[in-house]
C-alpha cells in the first residue's frame, strides 16, 4: 500500500524531491512522497556502489517505475557507506514508507556545511506549492 502524503519536520529537503536525515557527519538519503507518487510504484532501484562518491545536485542512482525512469539527485556530497538492500530487493518499499524503510543510501558527508543550503520543511512545501 502506498503511504499517505507526508513530509516529516525533522528532515532536510532538496528541490529535486530528495530528503536527507542528518546524523553528525553522516546522512541517510531518500526521495520524498511527492517523487514516489509522481513515478508510481517503483519496480527498480539502480544504486551506487558502496564507497562511490556522490556530489551535491548530481545523480547518484536511478529509480524506475513501469512508466518512467528518474535520476536520484544527491542533496549533499559524500561517500556511500551503505545501500539499502531492502529497496534493491523490493523497490515498492519506497512507495510504502518513503522516509523509513524506503531510505536509499547512507553517506559520510564530505562537506557538512552543505547542509545549511538545504531546504527546511516550510521551504520545501513552497517548492511543492509552486509545482
Amino acid at each position: 500500500m502506498a503511504a499517505a502524503e507526508s513530509y516529516p519536520e525533522d528532515l532536510k529537503y532538496h528541490s529535486e524531491h530528495d530528503w536527507a536525515r542528518i546524523d553528525g557527519d553522516e546522512a541517510v538519503l531518500g526521495i520524498t512522497w511527492f517523487a514516489a507518487d509522481a513515478l508510481g510504484e517503483l519496480v527498480h532501484f539502480e544504486p551506487p556502489a558502496p564507497g562511490a562518491a556522490v556530489a551535491k545536485d548530481a545523480s547518484y542512482g536511478e529509480v524506475e517505475s513501469v512508466k518512467a525512469v528518474s535520476d536520484v539527485i544527491a542533496p549533499l556530497s559524500g561517500e556511500v557507506l551503505e545501500v539499502n538492500q531492502a529497496v534493491v530487493d523490493a523497490p515498492e518499499t519506497v512507495n510504502e514508507d518513503p522516509y523509513g524503510a524506503g531510505w536509499l543510501v547512507r553517506i559520510r558527508l564530505s562537506d557538512p556545511s552543505e547542509v545549511d543550503a538545504l531546504l527546511d520543511l516550510a521551504a520545501y512545501k513552497q517548492v511543492l506549492a509552486d509545482q
Binding site: 519496480v43 527498480h44 524506475e64 517505475s65 513501469v66 512508466k67 525512469v69
Partner: protein, 173 residues
C-alpha cells in the same frame, strides 16, 4: 462489431461501435462492474504476450518476415503490393529478426537501447507477472534463437538478457 481478438494475451473481446454510441456503451460496460485500465497496463499485457506495437516494433522500416508476421501474408496465394520483396526476404532469410527477451539481471529495457552485436530494443517494460524486465527488439538473425544471451546497454551499463520463445508469458489457469 465484436471481435474475439484482443491485444492483451487474455481471453476477451474488442467492441467497435459508432462514435456517438461509445459513451453510452462504455458507461453500460462499467456499470456491470468492469474495472477500467489505461494504456500503461495495456502495454505490459501486450508485451508479456509478445504482441508487436506499430510504431515501436513494426512500421515502414520493418518487414513482416523479420517481424515474425509472415503468417499474416498470403505470399503463395495472392499477389499484392510488396509481395515480391517479402518473397525474396523469405527465400534468403531475413538478416535480422524481432525477438522477445527476458532480463537475467535487475534492469528494465526501454525502446532505443542498443543490443550488443547491432541490435536495438523496440519495446521494453517491467513485467508485473514475472517481476523482471522484458522486451522486444531486432537482433541479427544469428542472435535470434531462443536461449541466446543478449547484452543490452541500459544507460551505459551492460545488462544480460535471454531470448525466449513467444509469448513471453502465458497465464496458467
Amino acid at each position: 462489431m465484436v471481435n474475439r481478438t484482443g491485444y492483451t494475451g487474455e481471453d476477451g473481446c474488442e467492441i467497435l461501435c459508432m462514435a456517438e454510441d461509445a459513451v453510452a456503451l462504455w458507461d453500460a460496460v462499467l456499470a456491470r462492474g468492469v474495472v477500467p485500465c489505461g494504456l500503461g497496463a495495456r502495454d505490459t499485457l501486450r508485451l508479456e504476450a509478445s504482441l508487436p506495437l506499430h510504431g515501436n516494433d513494426i512500421g515502414p522500416d520493418t518487414n513482416a518476415i523479420e517481424a515474425g508476421l509472415g503468417w499474416t501474408c498470403a505470399l503463395e496465394a495472392k499477389d499484392f503490393s510488396g509481395a515480391g520483396v517479402l518473397r525474396a526476404v523469405k527465400a534468403e532469410g531475413p538478416s535480422r529478426r524481432l525477438v522477445s527477451f527476458v532480463m537475467e539481471e535487475k534492469a528494465i529495457p526501454r525502446q532505443g537501447m542498443p543490443i550488443e552485436g547491432g541490435g536495438e530494443v523496440t519495446s521494453g517494460t517491467h513485467s508485473p507477472m514475472l517481476d523482471v524486465g522484458i522486451g522486444m527488439g531486432y537482433v541479427p538473425a544469428a542472435q535470434a534463437a531462443p536461449g541466446t544471451k543478449l547484452t543490452i546497454d541500459v544507460r551505459g551499463k551492460p545488462r544480460t538478457a535471454r531470448v525466449v520463445k513467444r509469448p513471453i508469458y502465458t497465464r496458467e489457469d
